[in-house]
């Protein structure tokens, strides 16, 4: 299968996989944060939350690798960076965290930066050699 290199070629299925990847990442981080203080405290209900979060995190890692085998990182990265918005929003709702205006500004810079990083050509090495296509 030809690897997808442009965002307008992105099939709906892979787009949905990326959305699922973002949502799972958010869920995993939330659950791990909630249960991290009760890692080995079997009596506490948050104990289960932590290990569910951990399982989702590991599953999500393989999902991400699978997505990257189908599409270019430059296509996946801008969409994946939406978790930088989802996580603070989730932290406000579920963990009652306060996100200050300065932190929101930091977030905007980070997402903008990720967009720029993903826009850059990735096909050349330091000595000008071209990246060879995989067999």
């Amino acid at each position: 299968m030809e690897k997808i290199t442009k965002i307008n070629q992105l099939p709906l299925k892979i787009f949905l996989l990326l959305v699922v990847n973002d949502l799972l990442d958010t869920t995993a981080q939330l659950l791990m944060k909630k249960g991290v203080h009760h890692l080995f405290n079997f009596a506490n209900p948050d104990f289960f939350l932590f290990w569910i979060g951990m399982a989702i995190y590991l599953f999500n890692f393989f999902l991400w690798m699978n997505i990257l085998s189908k599409i270019d990182l430059s296509v996946a990265l801008p969409l994946a960076s939406s978790s930088y918005i989802l996580i603070p929003v989730a932290a406000i709702f579920f963990l009652h965290e306060f996100v200050s205006p300065v932190r929101w500004l930091g977030l905007v810079f980070i997402v903008l930066g990720i967009y720029f990083v993903s826009r850059s050509p990735i096909k050349t090495f330091r000595d000008g050699r071209e990246l060879k296509a995989k067999p």
């Binding site: 996580i87 603070p88 932290a91 932190r103 930066g113 050509p121 050699r129």
Partner: protein
Amino acid sequence: MNKALTLVLIAECWMTIGQICFKKSANRLNTQLWQYPTLWMGAAAMLTGLLFWLAALSSGELSFVYLLGSIQYVFALFAAHFFLDEKINATKLIGTLLITMGIILTAVS
């Protein structure tokens, strides 16, 4: 220095080492992948990074720790330059500078 910040920096160092190892393995994908030691070194580095990440999560707010985690983009830029011979171009540099500014803003927030 802030404890959560320190832990995120350590975690992301390990994660970057893991990424470099994975990329080195993926760059020679013609025989069986599991035979490459870099793949296993990468997995070990990732797991070590995950432990420090959990320590960071337990000592700071999620919205703080997660945003700081984007320092990995900055680490990866330099690591890829030195260990994978990838070229740093203007767009990448602007992107990483923007991310760095975002991290500084988050760190003082």
